[in-house]
Symmetry: C2
Subunit: 404 residues, 2 copies
């Protein structure tokens, strides 16, 4: 079984090039749209506001009348009333937050700035011209792109869509992802432990949780013992019903690792077949039709890191977002040493320290890539290039944000 | 109707002091726990790993035998097998990732480092003592607190809980929040526009979306016109079925603002009755039993900001997290001027710029607090103190993160 190891960035590039299409589009009510990804630009159809409105409770006046000191209240216009009032010289119209400004008026004098006596207001504190008047198009103008395609829909996106009278919205479908875990030594939830050599499986639910956080619909399969036929059967079933199939474990080249040979026998397009990186260099990605199969490492830490490095970019591109890893610069907060000669990604803490971005490994345990708990507490991934063996405190480093 | 305005920090302190208890605890399967908040500490019951295991595929050897150059393969132990092998002097045991290390062995020599011929391995590349052996307790030791109460459960928390054999977990109940919006000028989804003075309601769905993002169960009521009896009836109904009731609009002191008088007539404990801050100074918070009623401003921008400033801290404390606003230091990226004499919170962008945290207002529109679109693109809130009228580019400022 020959692998075809390539440098990390080349393997990512190969993945990017293999993605030929965005995922499908469905139409949903905006109340269900939180966390989904926009499949269209949201464009303002009209100015907002469409008319001048008051932003406070008070009296619509002509600014030039303010010097008169007192003005006759000629009308009373609650918010939502269609009719404009009319403000003639020497008059004012009682106006509420959201009320259309009366014809002839250009300024609102708030209730706190006047005394009302015998049908007149007496101005106790003057305001500037145009005060508390929301101009036409203050929010946005007709034709303006308010929200771009690919945006993850949060609270403000929902609010703005409601404001422009949308009831439904086109979003990208949720990618359907099947998760298969293999291994003889792992026990699923509820399975009684019969030997101290057995460990509880966690990579299947960990990877599933990442994919849910990344907005996928997930299907988790029953754990498969190292049985070639069963693995192949489950893999083919998973492939029928999902857009992406992820296997964990059984992906390296040991005697019990059937997965590699199954993938090879399927004679489907190899996208990645080994990557000079750590953790997870044995990663394999194949493609059949529009569907991807990922063979991820068995250790939950490695499987999780590979999910962020190799699967999250695919998901982003499927949903019209930037493929590239979201990478920022930060200062190293401590001396860091690396042993491998690969590009290496290490879970660490990103701290906001007096205006600076600082990375450290406090609370992270050094050791094998089996240590899932190093991914607790919202970590980021320190990226260290292959030839770098040591980073001094204070050096600037690259940090990959975990795009959740 | 007398208000009792207090400085912003004092109003927050009053809110904090009013919270006497955490919210209730329920027990759920860990597969449903994503995004929920832990109600207990997660403590390791045993060492992990419990025994020395191999972290690679290879041969368990005595390190002192490595100098012999070739060793007899005496056994073959797949992962998950309970029996230890035994490594006598001059021997080795074939071992897989996850296999228990054989008795007598202390080092694993990977398959890549040997040639196998006639039942023997010939070492082509030596390793250091203890290589690829995961020591007992490498992940964690028995008794160690792995995850603290109050933690929001993400992918790694789920993985670690699975690892320690948990199937269910105690989490804080989702606070139930009812949202009532009032106003004559606003139209709900699907209501036909009959007048150009009408605007689409967005604050109800915006606030609802924030609360869902903050892990609440929400109930949205039909929009209420400015009708005192209806508002009171809906408010009492909402209070029966929820932990927190939020009203938007009808909270200031204009003629049509019935809400304040209803709250006053209910004779329940005032927690906040006006706060010297912007936007949303007319905010009112009352408490009855363990339940809170929030009267938020009608503008969706203001209502949203107030939700983060006044409701998110309550939710945090109810779920054993830090009440205080999550505030960091950043550098101002442009000249900033403020007009009001209140503590003011302004939506702005937080940028990661070559290791520095920089705040600017690019793409944000200046104007009234009606501009909801200023909350697009994952903003943060610039906090400007009451006496500050101007911030120079490069000055250090306080920034409140929107805790999602």
């Amino acid at each position: 079984m020959s692998k075809n190891f390539l440098p990390f960035d080349e393997t990512l590039k190969a993945l990017e090039n293999s993605i030929k299409t965005e995922i499908g589009i469905e139409n949903i009510f905006i109340g269900d749209a939180l966390g989904r990804f926009l499949a269209i630009d949201i464009v303002a159809q009209e100015n907002n506001p469409t008319h001048e409105t008051s932003s406070m409770d008070g009296y619509a006046i002509r600014f030039s009348d303010q010097q008169l000191g007192s003005l006759t209240i000629s009308d009373f216009i609650p918010a939502g009333t269609e009719t404009h009032g009319v403000v003639n010289k020497g008059e004012c119209v009682k106006t509420f937050t959201g009320t259309l400004m009366s014809e002839g008026s250009d300024t609102l004098i708030p209730i706190e700035n006047v005394e009302v006596k015998e049908g007149k207001i007496h101005i106790t504190s003057a305001v500037s011209k145009g005060f508390a008047v929301r101009p036409i198009g203050e929010n946005y103008k007709a034709g303006e792109v308010l929200i771009k395609k690919g945006t993850k829909i949060g609270f403000a996106e929902i609010g703005v869509m409601a404001e422009v009278s949308m009831v439904q919205v086109e979003v990208f479908m949720k990618p359907r992802v099947a998760i298969l875990s293999t291994g003889n030594e792992i026990l699923d939830f509820g399975e009684p432990k019969t030997s101290f050599a057995q460990i509880r499986s966690s990579n299947h639910v960990t990877v599933e949780a990442i994919l849910r956080q990344l907005g996928c619909e997930t299907m988790r399969f029953k754990l498969i013992r190292d049985d070639r036929d069963l693995i192949e059967q489950q893999l083919r079933q998973a492939l029928m019903w999902s857009d992406i199939v992820i296997t964990t474990g059984g992906g390296s080249v040991g005697d019990f690792d059937y997965l590699q040979s199954i993938l090879t026998d399927m004679k489907i397009e190899n996208i990645i077949d080994g990557s000079y990186m750590k953790p997870g260099r044995h990663i394999r990605v194949v493609k059949t039709g529009h569907k991807y199969i990922y063979a991820l490492p068995g250790f939950p830490y490695s499987a999780s890191v590979c999910t962020f490095l190799f699967i999250a970019p695919l998901l982003r591109k499927l949903r019209a977002q930037t493929f590239a890893l979201p990478t920022i610069k930060a200062f190293m907060g401590e001396l860091y040493k690396k042993r491998s000669k690969f590009v290496e990604f290490t879970a660490c803490n990103l701290r906001f320290d007096e205006g600076q971005l600082v990375v450290d490994l406090q609370g992270k345990k050094e050791g094998s890539s089996a240590i899932l708990n190093n991914l607790l507490d919202n970590p980021v991934l320190l990226r260290v290039e292959k030839d770098v063996q040591k980073i001094e405190k204070g050096e600037m480093v690259d940090v990959v944000l975990l795009d959740l």
